[in-house]
Every structure is written in structure tokens, then in C-alpha cells.
């Protein structure tokens, strides 16, 4: 919201630099986004256009003769569409500096001399309006410096938190300024002169069908207005506040909106059928559509509140008027509506229709139902009388003429002291609260009864009063404790420790950690995990983010592609992130912590001392094995994936470990690589770490170091292609207590062996805790190994 400094001064007598006001507002909790100082530069004069002719060489330019005062007539080229003869304008004469550093010079524009510039409001720094040059009142003295008429001012742009609806006006901001500077608030409201004999009550009736949705409705009738432009001072203030002047009646309602924060609606009285206003819900009217004055047909829900006349709805209550009921150039009599619409109702309708207006924005946050409403309608009627030449009918409509009950609550000074950490007594609290219009009376021991103004919708209980005390006292003055209560035991979080361990293991391995989006497109999810059901987003930001990821493969592949497109080759990435599946029992999602690793290109690029080592399945497997080792996990078991799905080629496996760890690993299929625009070989693995993360890392258990050396024997078996080396390893290990580590170290396939066979060489370690073994000690075991392999696994010792 934009607050014009001179407007603010109508309410509070202050004369300090605008920055001081901004600082005070910040301290009060009103965020200042920017300050725009208004200063008409020296050299800008009031001038009059004598004649306007087309520019000989340009269609869109005009050639003007301008009277700059003191008998000086200048030829000026002007590009504004609204320039006309006899218009009073702002002329930037030669040598004037506009904005930061734009100096006006005598210039030739399309071959014609121009001696100055006619300025728009934007060029003068008054507002953002740049649609044409500024049209000044004709009584401004030609040749006078414009700064005599448009005096220095400033516009403070502020941001108001949703609880402080009472600050959405010059008055509201003035209240805070008044409290900060200790200056009283000045009365600005006016009362119109009423015409006897013409009573509003005989001219119109108002009936509220839903009192709880519209607790107060006030109306006034102003007859015989002349529609025309509003006075220059009002137009200037409105445009500085960011509103476009329209005509005197609409401008007055907007002026009241900005000044008091009270939205009003002006009806053409003669268009009100049956001289009746009825406030009711659309369901009781039996209509489902309504066209607002912006020409858009709106679908209504049953509980939308409408302002109707005897025949038809004329406005969406508190949000926007209807097409056809607005003020026109021929309007003579104006019915002014000034109401209090209940917050939630307005918000529901506005939200549902996606229609937020200056009016709905304020009603949603709450306006002042009491004195504020009266001041607004009286001042508006007064201005219509003064500015638009109207006559105000006697009396006013008021559906809530009895006074509103006071809003009272109790504040315990001890509570304020306890929450804020500073000792507050009754006197101190009373002084602070009085400055913002809260009246306190002593109610008993440690009890202050506080009467809160009705416009403070944010104050409804003691905690809110405590905040006011703290805010007005100044948070900067509350001391920061130096020593807090100490908690001596704080066991480390095993989730954090495990996660950090996993991450550092992978980082040491030369992998880069990624953080990727958890929202992905349906199309990509279907590519990779076609049969999983996703968690879908009802209102996605864009078509690429319609659901929560079920795998990290999508975003990791995208990251690889992103890097390859930038010539970053040989990528190896990991991410520990969440995947999501619908969870019907909680209504939320099953969220899993997934480790994903992707490698592409070479593991070691070619260098002078080594050949290139291409990434492959077993390099990725090696990374995972080392990760497991680093994290003290039992070794994982791998088995060929029965269904490798679209993500992988058949060169893929499932992974199983203890602590619920499971996942997959494999070469990414060509089709998927192609879809993601990747030309090189990619290997990907995904592990579910959810359960493991919250499992404390076991203490390492020390085993005695072997006292005697091991004996190693190699066995080459010719065996069926389908026999896993892991099966053989486990078999051999199980055959004798003397067998230690069994390690496959050579695999050979060749014509000599025939199709369906392979030769695998295992290095078997024999060790005894009691002595150094010799050949004889292991001969029996060796024979047993050969026999079992032959009989059980059809594996022959290679000759």
C-alpha cells in the first residue's frame, strides 16, 4: 500500500524527514518496502499550449507552440497523444535535470527544433502514470515554477501483515505514527449539511436478510450531483497512492477507501429498482450467475452475498459492483453504501472466484464497524456536496444504530512480564496501551481490564495484548539472556550421524551431492515406473511438476543430461532424498529416504600415466560396496532382476541388505537415455535407507588378529553360466571351519569351454587359529570342495 506523506500529515502534526517516519513504522511492525521522494525539479514551469500542429516528418509527433510565461513562446515537439491547444502543461525548460541525470537540451527532433519537454506524471516522478502529459488546472499561473503548486512530498510504500487490516489506510498508519511520536491524532471527518424535507427514509429502504453476514449497513442519498473530473488535489493524491482518477463520485469513494480503509459503493439511485436494497444470499434469489462491472460473468455458490434491488442483484457484497449499476456520466442521484461485511464470508467468495479487490481485501481483514463507518459515509457525502454539487438528503440508513458492545479482556501484568522477560507494572502497561487507544482499568490484584477499539480485529485475547505491550515497549530494549537453562545430556541423532556418514563416504568417492526437485511430470514417471501410483498435485505450478516423485531416477537423469549439454562430462552424482507413495491409512504419503547414485562416462579419464577406465556395472557396485563398508553395513546380496523394467537393461540386479535396505542397480536402458537426451552409458542405483537411517550404528566388535598365516589355494571351475559366483563362494565357505575368505578373481568364457559354460577361478584362504597350515592339513578340505562342486553344482575342476 502507498501512503502519501502529506496526506498522513492531515492526521498527525509531524514535520520530520520521511525516513524517520519510515523507521518508526518499521519499529511498529509495518514493513517499509520503499520511499519515493517527490520533488519537482528546478526548471519545470507551468506553461500553456498555444497551438498544436502535426509534425512535418513524423505521424505520432505534434509540433506545439508553448507559452512559457514572461512573453517567451517556445516551439516544442511532443509525442503525447493527449496534448491539445490551450492545455495547461508542465514544461521542462532547457537545462532541467529530470530523474537521475536526464538533462533537457535544445534539440532537433526529426529535423524540427524543440526547446524543452512537456512532461508526464512519471517523468516528473509523481506517479507511475506515463500514458500522456500531465494536464494542470488552468488557473495555475503561466511561467510559475511548478514546485509552487506541486510541493515536495513523499510516497511510502508499506507492506501490512494480514492481521493488521486496521493499518490499510492513511488513518491506520497515522494511528501508529501518532503513538510512535506521541502526537495526538487530528480529526479529519466531516459532516454534510442535510437538506430538510427530503428524507432518505422515504426515498429508499434497506433490508438485511442475513444479519450475521452484514452486521451493519449504512446508506446516504446525495441528489443532483454533476459528474465530472474530481479536483486536481484529489486526483494527485489518488494517483500518488496508485489509483487511477475516474470521475468525482468514484474518486470520492476511492479517496475514502484510502483515507479511512472503508470500502464504499456508489449506486445510481435512479437505477435502483423499487427503491429497495436487499442484502441476501444468492440461494434465496435462485440465481447462479452474476456479471460484475468488469464484464465477467461469475458463477455463484449458494452462500455468496449479494446486494439486490427489488428486481435484480446489483453488487457482489463487499467485492465488486454489477454491470449496469455503476455511476455513469448521466447519473444525477447517488445512493452511497457503507457497510460492514463479515470477514470470512467475503473471503470465501473472493477466494472461490479468484477475485480480489481493494474492497474485498479490506473486508476480509476487517474494517471498523463503529465510528469508522460513520466517519466514512459522512465525509463521503460531505465531499459529494462540496465537489460534485450534490444535495445530501436528511438522515441516513443504519441497520445497527445502537452502540456496539465494548471489546473487553483482562491482562495480567505478571503474564506480560513472564512472556517478555521484562518486569512490567500496571502503570507502565497502561501508558503503553493508552497510546494506541486501549483503555485500561484496574480490575483487581494483577488484573487490568482492557477495552480494545473495535477496529483492532487482531486483538482478541491476553496474548495479543502482551504482544502490544512488547511491541510498544520496543523489542530492542528487551535484554537478551546471556545464560540459558543448560541441558547437559543431548545424545547425538543417529539419523543425522548415519546420513552424514553415508554422504561423506560417497563424497570421498568422488561423487557430487545433488539436491533435486521432488515434483516431476506424469509422463516421466510413467516412463520409468509405469505401474506405481503417485501422489498427485491438484494445482501444479506447471506441467513438468504434476506429481511427487516415486523414484529419484528422473531428476538424476535430468541432472546428467543438463551437465552433458554443458560439456561437463564424466558425471557421478548422488542424492539422498525422499520418494512418495499414496498412503490410504494416514491420508498423507509413505515417504522414503532414498539414496540414488548415477554414474556416466569414465571413472578415470585417460591421462599420461593410465588408460581411460569406463564406468560400468561393477564400478557402481564397487561404490555401493565401499559405501556399505564405510557405514559398517553387513554386505549386500545381489541377484539378477527378473523384471528389469524400462529403466534398466538386463544388466541389472536387485540389492538386499540388513536393516531393511533394498534397492536396484543396473545399466540404464538405451531407450531411457535417449528420452533424456543422453548419448553415453549410464549406470544407476537406488537404495531405500529409511529404516537404516534411524538404526543406531553398531559398535565395531574387535576380533583377535590371526596368529598364524593363511594358506591360499586357487581353484578354477568350469561351471554352468547360470551359476552365480556368490553361490559358489558361500558353498565353499560353508564346507569347513578352516576356510576363510573366498574370492573369485578370474572369469573366462570361450569356445574351448563351449556355450553355456564359464570358468571361474576362486582364491580360497585357509586359516587355523591353532597353527600354521601346510598342504596336508588342507588336502581333505580341498578334495571336499572339488567333490561338492562337482556333485552339487556340476562344476568341474579345470584341467
Amino acid at each position: 500500500m502507498k501512503i502519501v506523506y502529506s496526506w498522513l500529515k492531515d492526521f498527525v502534526d509531524i514535520n520530520v524527514p520521511v525516513q524517520e517516519v519510515a523507521d518508526a513504522l518499521t519499529k511498529a511492525g509495518i514493513e517499509v518496502a520503499s520511499i519515493n521522494s517527490i520533488h519537482i525539479p528546478d526548471g519545470v514551469k507551468v506553461a500553456k499550449v498555444i497551438s498544436k500542429n502535426p509534425h512535418p516528418n513524423a505521424d505520432k509527433l505534434s509540433l506545439c507552440e508553448v507559452d512559457a510565461g514572461n512573453g517567451e513562446i517556445l516551439q516544442i515537439v511532443c509525442g503525447a497523444p493527449n496534448v491539445t491547444a490551450s492545455m495547461t502543461v508542465a514544461l521542462a525548460t532547457e537545462g532541467t535535470v529530470l530523474g537521475e541525470d536526464f538533462t533537457i537540451k535544445k534539440a532537433k527532433i526529426r529535423g524540427v527544433e524543440s526547446r524543452g519537454m512537456l512532461c508526464s506524471e512519471k517523468e516528473l516522478g509523481i506517479s507511475d502514470n506515463n500514458s500522456g502529459i500531465i494536464s494542470l488546472p488552468s488557473d495555475y499561473r503561466t511561467g510559475a515554477p511548478l514546485s509552487e503548486y506541486i510541493v515536495d512530498d513523499a510516497v511510502i510504500e508499506i507492506e501490512i501483515t494480514p492481521d493488521r487490516g486496521d493499518c490499510l489506510s492513511v488513518l491506520g498508519v497515522a494511528r501508529e505514527v501518532s503513538a510512535s511520536f506521541g502526537k495526538p491524532l487530528k480529526q479529519t471527518a466531516r459532516i454534510p449539511e442535510e437538506k430538510n424535507g427530503d428524507s432518505i427514509s422515504s426515498a429508499i429502504s434497506v433490508n438485511i436478510e442475513t444479519k450475521e453476514r452484514c452486521p451493519r449497513y449504512m446508506g446516504r442519498l446525495v441528489r443532483g450531483v454533476t459528474i465530472g473530473p474530481s479536483p486536481e488535489w484529489m486526483q494527485r493524491r489518488l494517483s500518488m497512492a496508485g489509483l487511477r482518477p475516474i470521475n468525482n463520485i468514484v474518486d470520492i469513494t476511492n479517496y475514502i477507501l484510502i483515507q479511512y480503509g472503508q470500502p464504499m459503493h456508489a449506486f445510481d439511485y435512479n437505477a435502483v429498482d423499487g427503491r429497495k436494497i436487499i442484502v441476501k444470499q444468492s440461494q434465496s434469489l435462485g440465481i447462479s450467475q452474476f456479471t460484475t462491472l468488469d464484464g465477467i460473468e461469475r458463477k455463484l455458490a449458494g452462500d455468496d452475498l449479494l446486494i439486490c434491488d427489488a428486481k435484480k442483484p446489483t453488487a457482489l457484497a463487499g467485492i465488486m459492483g454489477g454491470l449496469g449499476s455503476q455511476i455513469t456520466d448521466s447519473t444525477k442521484d447517488v445512493f452511497l453504501e457503507c457497510a460492514f461485511f463479515e470477514q470470512t464470508g467475503v473471503r470465501k467468495t473472493s477466494k472461490r472466484l479468484g477475485l480480489s479487490t481493494d474492497s474485498s481485501y479490506r473486508f476480509e481483514r476487517g474494517v471498523d464497524p463503529a465510528q469508522g463507518l460513520e466517519n466514512a459515509i459522512n465525509t463521503a457525502a460531505y465531499l459529494m456536496q462540496e465537489i460534485a454539487g450534490g444535495t445530501v438528503s436528511a438522515g441516513k440508513i443504519d441497520t445497527h444504530s445502537e452502540p456496539f458492545p465494548e471489546k473487553k479482556m483482562t491482562l495480567r501484568p505478571s503474564r506480560a512480564s513472564r512472556i517478555l522477560g521484562v518486569e512490567f507494572d500496571e502503570e507502565r502497561i497502561t501508558a503503553l496501551l493508552t497510546s494506541i487507544g486501549i483503555i485500561t482499568t484496574k480490575e483487581g490484584d494483577d488484573k487490568l481490564q482492557c477495552s480494545v477499539p473495535l477496529f483492532r480485529h487482531d486483538i482478541s485475547e491476553e496474548a495479543d495484548l502482551v504482544e502490544e505491550v512488547g511491541r510498544l515497549f520496543g523489542y530492542d530494549k528487551i535484554p537478551a539472556v546471556q545464560y540459558s537453562q543448560v541441558k547437559l545430556t543431548n545424545p547425538p541423532s543417529c539419523t543425522e550421524t548415519n546420513r552424514d556418514n553415508a554422504r561423506s563416504a560417497l563424497c570421498y568417492f568422488g561423487l557430487n551431492e545433488l539436491i533435486t526437485n521432488s515434483m516431476v511430470s506424469e509422463a516421466k514417471r510413467k516412463l520409468i515406473t509405469p505401474s506405481t501410483e503417485p501422489v498427485k498435485i491438484l494445482n501444479p505450478l506447471n506441467p513438468d511438476m504434476t506429481e511427487m516423485r516415486t523414484t529419484l531416477a528422473i531428476t538424476l537423469l535430468e541432472s546428467v543430461a543438463y551437465n552433458l549439454n554443458r560439456k561437463n562430462n564424466n558425471n557421478r552424482f548422488f542424492e539422498i532424498g525422499k520418494t512418495f507413495r499414496p498412503d490410504s491409512t494416514t491420508g498423507l504419503a509413505q515417504e522414503k529416504d532414498i539414496l540414488a547414485i548415477i554414474i556416466e562416462g569414465s571413472c578415470f579419464p585417460k591421462s599420461w600415466g593410465n588408460v581411460e577406465l569406463q564406468n560400468d556395472f561393477f564400478i557402481l557396485k564397487g561404490i555401493i560396496e565401499t559405501f556399505a563398508d564405510h557405514c559398517a553395513l553387513d554386505s549386500f546380496s545381489y541377484s539378477k532382476l527378473e523384471q528389469h523394467g524400462p529403466l534398466y537393461t538386463p544388466e541389472s540386479a536387485s540389492i538386499r541388505g540388513s536393516n531393511g535396505i533394498m534397492g536396484t542397480i543396473g545399466r540404464v536402458s538405451e531407450q531411457i537415455c535417449k528420452t533424456f537426451g543422453i548419448k553415453s552409458s549410464v549406470f544407476y542405483a537406488e537404495l531405500d535407507l529409511t529404516a537404516w537411517l534411524s538404526t543406531p550404528k553398531p559398535l565395531p566388535k574387535y576380533k583377535n588378529l590371526p596368529k598364524f598365516p593363511a594358506l591360499e589355494r586357487d581353484f578354477s571351475f568350469v561351471m554352468p553360466d547360470t551359476l552365480d559366483s556368490d553361490t559358489v563362494k558361500k558353498e565353499i565357505e560353508s564346507l569347513s571351519g578352516l576356510v576363510g575368505n573366498v574370492r573369485p578373481f578370474d572369469v573366462y568364457r570361450g569356445e574351448k569351454l563351449g556355450a553355456g559354460s564359464k570358468s571361474v577361478t576362486f582364491s580360497v584362504e585357509f586359516r587355523s587359529p591353532e597353527k600354521t597350515l601346510n598342504d596336508d592339513d588342507v588336502q581333505d578340505v580341498c578334495n571336499k570342495i572339488i567333490l561338492v562342486m562337482k556333485e552339487k553344482h556340476s562344476a568341474e575342476l579345470r584341467k
Binding site: E31, D163, T344, I419, I478, S493, L511, A589, E591
Partner: protein, 344 residues
């Protein structure tokens, strides 16, 4: 050549093998290795000459002697390949030149994501202050994300956070504050916890905002926790994280779940409050939102607001990382350009 001719019997080859192996064992420098290579394996070395001499032998002699020469040659070559100098010689431009300026083996170092680094730095400071860690779901109910945080349906404060909906009752959490509720429901005071995590906002993606980001929430509930404790804690955090002499500034603000609510500005770590590009010449950085836990929130969690008081705070990890590393575009964190990642 004359050397070669000395070895004409199998016995003499055995002698040669012994002396070669002895010489091999004695290799101590790169120069020794090179001499060894030239003597035995060079083009005019002993073994080459021996092989050449085979042609002049009688065929019956040649078969036996040839096999022995080949076996010896293979052994010596094999041995030599084991020496650490072998590789270097092959790689250097000149046989005799050792060039220590050549790059080492191309291992590559990994990197941890800058957001995770900042997250953990912040976490560790609060751990030393006695805060434990709690987590909550990212797909969250409307109840935890809004209602229990004192934001009933149609509360205007919901406009402060553009929300992704999964259903009318389920959202992608817009802040980590719902974890406060989950913690307070489960645990009785005293509670001292931080809650890191990912949050989502339905906002257009730009250099300044992304559709998701990461927060760390903090909560401290006990019998006599005051605003003064909040200030002390956040001051201590700021001084640990930024600079020992950092100052903080507190402005009133609004969150429905705290009362009072404040924004905490931290003195710019770069210019020490003098004003610079990072702090937009204000001298202060907007880092934290905080406040005293609203009594209504305690009631939702079954905690007696008369007995217990508490404070809560929250900060955005991205925002702090952008400031701390001088990064000007938030999207860099999620685009994952390896050249970016490797800088951290």
C-alpha cells in the same frame, strides 16, 4: 653381442638368470632401473642379442636352448614390469627425464551440496546448545500445516504461503512449523528441538524464488521461557554462525502461531553493518522469523499454556546460503551444474 656369445650353455643361462635377478633386487633408483633395462631388455641388450644368436645354432640345440632363452627373457621382463619405475619411464617424454610436474593419477574429489553444508552448520550450532532433532512429513495434512498453527480455513494468513494441494485436506507443507505440533503432541515439556526439512510454495520460479526450499525450525518449551531467552538464543546462534561480534535487530511481525511475532535481522556479515550490495546498503540481513508460541497452539497440542511458555523460530537455508556464498540465483542450487557443485 660379445656378451651374448658367452652364454651358450643351459648352465650359463642359469648364471645369467641369477645375476640378472641379483641386479634387479639391487635396483634402488630410477637411474639403476634404466641401466638395468638397457643392459637386459634394450634393443642391444643381452637378451635381445641372445635371441638373435639363436639363428646361428644347430637346429637340435636351438630347440632346447631357445626355450630356455625365451623363458628367461619372459621372467626378466615380467620382473621388470613390476618395478615402480617402469610406468614413469613409459610416461615421461624423455627416457631419462623424471618430471614431477606431470599431473597425478586422475582421482576426482566429490562434493557436498552447499545447502546441506549450511544446514549442517546451523544444525551443529543448535546441537551444542542442547537442541535435539525432529522430522515430519512433507506431504502434510491441512490440520498440521494450518489449523493447529492457529490458521483456520479462510484465514487471510493462508495467503502468505501459496500452497500446493494434494487433496482438500492434504497439502505439500509450506513451512516446517507443522513439525512443532507433531513434536509437542508426542513429547511433554521441556522440549528443545530443531526441525530441518523441505517445504513447498506454489510460486513462479525466478532467480529469487523456487517452488521448494529448505527451512530449519526451532522450538523451546519449558516452564519459564521468555522473549528474553529467544533473543539470547538467536543472538548466540548469529554470533556462532556469522561473527562473534554480530548484532541482531528485532522488528514486530506476524505469524498466526506466535504471539508476539517478530522478524530478526542480523547485522550484515560482509560489511559489518556499514552497508553493501549483499545487504542492499541497509547493514542488516533479514534471516529469521520468530516469536513466543501462541497459547492456542499449546492448547491444540494438549500443553497447558498457563504452566508452560515457549519460543519458536524458523529460517530459510537457501537464503542464508545465497548470502553466505554470494550466490545471485537460487536456481543454481537445483540445476546441479557440476562446475557449481565442485566449488563447495
Amino acid at each position: 653381442m660379445s656378451d651374448g656369445l658367452q652364454y651358450n650353455s643351459l648352465e650359463s643361462l642359469e648364471t645369467l638368470r641369477k645375476s640378472a635377478l641379483a641386479e634387479f633386487e639391487a635396483i634402488g633408483t630410477e637411474a639403476d632401473a634404466e641401466n638395468f633395462r638397457i643392459k637386459y631388455l634394450g634393443k642391444k641388450g643381452i637378451l635381445s642379442e641372445l635371441k638373435k644368436s639363436l639363428g646361428t645354432m644347430a637346429p637340435d640345440q636351438r630347440a632346447v636352448f631357445g626355450a630356455a632363452v625365451n623363458s628367461l627373457s619372459k621372467d626378466v621382463e615380467g620382473k621388470f614390469k613390476e618395478t615402480p619405475w617402469q610406468n614413469k619411464n613409459a610416461g615421461s617424454a624423455a627416457d631419462s627425464g623424471f618430471d614431477p610436474t606431470l599431473p597425478g593419477f586422475p582421482f576426482s574429489s566429490g562434493s557436498l551440496h552447499p545447502l546441506m553444508k549450511i544446514r549442517n552448520e546451523i544444525r551443529d550450532i543448535f546441537i551444542t546448545m542442547g537442541f535435539s532433532i525432529a522430522y515430519g512429513p512433507e506431504v502434510e495434512s491441512d490440520y498440521y500445516n494450518f489449523q493447529a498453527l492457529n490458521m483456520p480455513p479462510f484465514h487471510p494468513a493462508r495467503d502468505m504461503q501459496d500452497t500446493f494441494y494434494i487433496s482438500d485436506k492434504t497439502v505439500l507443507r509450506t513451512h516446517t512449523s507443522p513439525v512443532q505440533i507433531r513434536v509437542m503432541e508426542k513429547q511433554k515439556p521441556p522440549i528443545r528441538a530443531i526441525m530441518p526439512g523441505r517445504v513447498y510454495r506454489n510460486e513462479e520460479i525466478s532467480a529469487r524464488s523456487y517452488c521448494l526450499f529448505h527451512q530449519i525450525e526451532g522450538l523451546y518449551v519449558d516452564e519459564n521461557v521468555s522473549f528474553s531467552d529467544l533473543k539470547g538464543t538467536l543472538l548466540a546462534f548469529s554470533r556462532s554462525f556469522f561473527d562473534e561480534k554480530t548484532h541482531i535487530k528485532i522488528r514486530p511481525s506476524y505469524f498466526p502461531f506466535t504471539e508476539p511475532s517478530v522478524e530478526v535481522d542480523v547485522e550484515c556479515f560482509l560489511c559489518k553493518g556499514k552497508g553493501c550490495g549483499i545487504c542492499k546498503y541497509s547493514g542488516w540481513l533479514e534471516i529469521l522469523g520468530a516469536g513466543m508460541v501462541h497459547p492456542n497452539v499449546f492448547k491444540y497440542c494438549g500443553i497447558d499454556p498457563e504452566k508452560y511458555t515457549g519460543f519458536a523460530f524458523g529460517m530459510g537455508i537457501e537464503r542464508i546460503a545465497l548470502l553466505k556464498y554470494g550466490i545471485d540465483d537460487i536456481r543454481l542450487f537445483y540445476e546441479n551444474d557440476a562446475r557449481f557443485l565442485k566449488q563447495f
